[in-house]
C-alpha cells in the first residue's frame, strides 16, 4: 500500500511538474473550448479547423502586435462539466487572453460566470440569445440571433402570402430556442401555427411527424434544427406528397445536409449568412472579399466545402484582432471595451456593430434568403 501511495504521489507530481505553468508571456495565448468530438462535432470540428487555419495564417503575417499567437484548443465534446474544467484551466492556469467558444449554448451558459469572475473575454460560437441577454461584461457571441433569422423567414412568408404554418423542431437547445421564438413572434407577424412537433435529433425516420403536419393543412413548414435529422424531415415531407414550401433555419448552412436530402432539398428556403453564396455576391458588397478568401482557404486546406458553422469561429477571431488593433494594446480590459466600440467589422456571419448593450452585433441584415438549386446554394430570386 505504501509503495502504491508513493508511486501515486510521484506520478501526480511528475504530471504537475510537466505542466509547470506560465512561461513569462511572449506569445499571446488564446484558448478555445470546442466540441471537436461528440454529439456537436459537426459544429465544433469545422470551428476548430477554421481557428487553426486563421491562427497559422496570422502568425505567418507576424502575429498580433508583433507577438505570435498560441492557440490552445480543448475538446469539450459538448459536456458542460468539461467546459467548466477547461474554462478554469484556461483562465486561471494558462492565463489566456480570451476564450473562443464553446460550441453549444448549454456549455456557454455554464461558463458565463467563470468568464466574468476571471475577467476574461469569452467569444461564444453558440447561438442562444440568453448568452448575451442579459448582457454580461465579458461575454460575446458571434452567431446570429435566432429571432432575426425567424423575422427574415417571416418577411419572406409575407411576400409569399403565407399565413398558416406548421413548425417542426429538434429536441436540442437550438431547436427549442427556435421553437420558442417562433411561437413568440408568429402572432405579431400575422402567422398562425397550426401544428407544433418536436422530433428527436437521432431519429431515422420522421414520416409520422410530417404526416401529422400534412393532416393540419398548413401553407408552409418551418423546420428548425441544426442537426442532420433536418434533412430527413425534408425527404419524408416530399415523399408523402407534401408540396408546400419548406423553410429551414440558418442551421441548414452545410452542403452535406443538401447532399443527404438529395432531390428533396430543391426549393428549400432558408436564411443564412452570405458565406454560402460568396461567389455570386456583387463585387461591391462589403462582405465579398472576406467571404471569398475564407471559402478559398478553407476549401483548399481541408478539401471540404466551407460551412457557416466554421465561420462563427472565424468571426470570433477577426473580432478579437480588430479589437486589439483598435485598443492599440493587449490589455484585457482595454480590448474588452474596444470590442464594445467596434463597428462595421466584416465577418462571415454578417457585418458586426457592437455596443455596450449589444454583445452580438448582428441584426436582420446579416441574413440573406437562400435556396437550393440543382443541389447547390443559391440566392432566392425575386
Amino acid at each position: 500500500m505504501g509503495r502504491r501511495l508513493g508511486a501515486g504521489v510521484l506520478v501526480l507530481l511528475g504530471l504537475m511538474w510537466l505542466n509547470v505553468g506560465a512561461e513569462a508571456g511572449e506569445p499571446i495565448r488564446i484558448g478555445a473550448i470546442l466540441s471537436v468530438t461528440g454529439p456537436a462535432s459537426f459544429l465544433g470540428a469545422p470551428e476548430a479547423r477554421t481557428l487553426e487555419m486563421v491562427v497559422e495564417a496570422q502568425n505567418k503575417k507576424g502575429g498580433i502586435a508583433g507577438r505570435q499567437i498560441e492557440l490552445i484548443v480543448k475538446d469539450s465534446a459538448a459536456s458542460p462539466e468539461k467546459a467548466f474544467s477547461f474554462a478554469k484551466q484556461l483562465i486561471e492556469e494558462n492565463k489566456v487572453f480570451a476564450i473562443i467558444g464553446p460550441t453549444t449554448s448549454g456549455e456557454t451558459m455554464k461558463i458565463k460566470g467563470v468568464a466574468e469572475e476571471g475577467k476574461t473575454i469569452l467569444l461564444s460560437c453558440a447561438a442562444a440569445e440568453v448568452i448575451v441577454n442579459p448582457v454580461a461584461k465579458y461575454v460575446f457571441k458571434t452567431p446570429q440571433n435566432d429571432n432575426h433569422a425567424i423575422l427574415k423567414i417571416f418577411e419572406q412568408m409575407k411576400k409569399m402570402k403565407i399565413s398558416k404554418i406548421g413548425v417542426l423542431s429538434s429536441n436540442t437547445g437550438f431547436g427549442n430556442a427556435g421553437k420558442e421564438q417562433i411561437g413568440k413572434l408568429a402572432p405579431e407577424n400575422g402567422l398562425t401555427i397550426l401544428v407544433n412537433e418536436v422530433y428527436d435529433k437521432d431519429a431515422s425516420d420522421l414520416t409520422a411527424e410530417v404526416t401529422k403536419v400534412k393532416a393540419a393543412n398548413v401553407q408552409a413548414i418551418v423546420n428548425w434544427s441544426i442537426e442532420p435529422a433536418q434533412s430527413i424531415v425534408i425527404k419524408n415531407a416530399r415523399q408523402i406528397g407534401l408540396k408546400v414550401p419548406i423553410f429551414q433555419s440558418h442551421g441548414f448552412g452545410n452542403i452535406k445536409y443538401v447532399e443527404t436530402a438529395g432531390e428533396a432539398a430543391e426549393g428549400v428556403i432558408f436564411p443564412a449568412g452570405r458565406l454560402l453564396v460568396a461567389d455570386v455576391l456583387p463585387k461591391t458588397h462589403p462582405q465579398r472579399e472576406v467571404l471569398v478568401q475564407y471559402k478559398k482557404d478553407y476549401e483548399s486546406r481541408y478539401k471540404e466545402e466551407a460551412s457557416t458553422f466554421g465561420g462563427h469561429a472565424y468571426d470570433a477571431f477577426i473580432i478579437l484582432l480588430k479589437a486589439i488593433e483598435k485598443a492599440k494594446s493587449t490589455d484585457k480590459e482595454a480590448v474588452r471595451a474596444a470590442i464594445e466600440q467596434l463597428k462595421g467589422v466584416v465577418g462571415t456571419g454578417g457585418v458586426f456593430n457592437f455596443s455596450p448593450g449589444d454583445h452580438n452585433g448582428l441584426d436582420i441584415n446579416a441574413f440573406e434568403i437562400l435556396t437550393v438549386k440543382k443541389g447547390k446554394f443559391a440566392l432566392l430570386g425575386k
Binding site: M1, G2, R4, L5, G8, V9, V11, L12, L13, L15, M16, W17, N19, V20, G21, V36, T37, G38, K74, D75, A77, A78, S79, P80, E81, K82, F84, S85, F86, K88, Q89, E92, E93, T104, S105, G106, E107, M109, K110, K112, G113, V114, E117, G118, A128, P134, N171, T172, G173, G175, N176, V198
Partner: protein, 356 residues
Amino acid sequence: MRGRYLQLLGFTGLIVAIQLATQLTGNPYHLTQLTMSAYYSLLVIGLCLLIGYAGQISIGHAGFFAIGGYLSALLTTHDLSAYKGTALMWLAKAGVLSSRTGLYGGDLLTVHPWAACFVAVFATVGIAYAVGGPVLRLKGHYLAMATLGFGSIVYRIVLGSALVGAADGISEVPPFSLFPGLEVSGRAPLRVQNYYLAWGLVIAGMALLLNLVHSRAGRALSAIHGAEDAADATGIPTARYKLYTFVLSAAYAGLAGVLLTHFNGGIGPSEASIMKSIRYVAIVAIGGMANLWGALLMSLLLNYLSLRGYFGTYDDAVFGGILILIMLFAPEGLLRRHLPGELRRLFSRGDAEEAP
C-alpha cells in the same frame, strides 16, 4: 482491522501531500480538477461496492448522479417568487427557502441548498429502491441491459423536459453554503477549502465502505458474488442485501451529483449519458473489480487527466480501450499483486483449449 485505518491514514496523507505540492510549485489550479475528480470518485467507490463486492453490474449509474444533481439544481434555481402569497409559504416559515439576488440582480426565492440536498438524495434513494427491486432479480446480460435502460430513460427525460432546461441543462446554481464560512463552490479563492471538503467526504465514504466490506454484511456480499444460489441456501437474504447495496451505491452517486452541481454551478444532460456510466464502469474495472482502493486511486488519476484534457479528442476512445485491455488481460484489475503470474497463465492456457 488496524490495516484499514492505516490505509485511510495513508490516503489522507497522500491528499494532503498533493495539496502541499500544488502550493509549493505554485500550481493551485490543479485543485479544481482534483476536486471534481473527488466527487466522481465518490460515485466510483459506491459503484465498486456494487459491481465488485455484490457482483451486480450497473451500466446506468450516471442516472443516479444526474437525478441528484438535477433535483438540487432545479430546487435551488427555480424561482418561487410567484407563489409568495400562497400556502407554499409554510415552507418559508420552516426555514427551507432562501432569498438571494440572482446573477443579474433581481430577487430570487428558491429552496435552500441544504433542503434541496436532502430532497435530492432522498429522491435518488427512493428511486433506487423502487427500481432496484425488479432490476436486481435479473442476471447477466439482462441485468446489464436493464441498468443501461434505466440510465437511458433518465437521460431521455432530462434531455426532453423543458422544466430542467432540456438540452441546455440548468446553470447559475448557487454555491452550497454548508456552514458560515464553508461553501461548496468553484470560485478560485475557495479552492483549497473545497478540495479538502471534497476529499474529506470521499475519505469518510471510504471508511464507511471499508467497514461494511469487513463486516458480516460484507462477507455476505462476497458470498452472493461468489455463488448466489449457495448463499441463498445458507440463509443469507440475498435479495435484500443486493437491494441495500444498490441503494447505497445510488446514494453515493446522488450525493456526488448534488455537490458537484453546486461546485460547477450547473449541470447538463451529458452527466446522465451512457458514455459517463460506461466510464465509471471502466474505472472500477481498471482499479480492480473488488478493490475499493484500486478504484479510488484510478478514479483520482483518470478523472483528473480527462478533466484536464490530457486525452484530447481521444477521450472516449481511451476509456473504451481501457475496458477492452483490462477485460482481455487483467480482468481482476491492474493493481493486483498476482498480475504478472496471471498474465503468464492466461497466455499459456490459450493453446490448451483446442485439444479435445
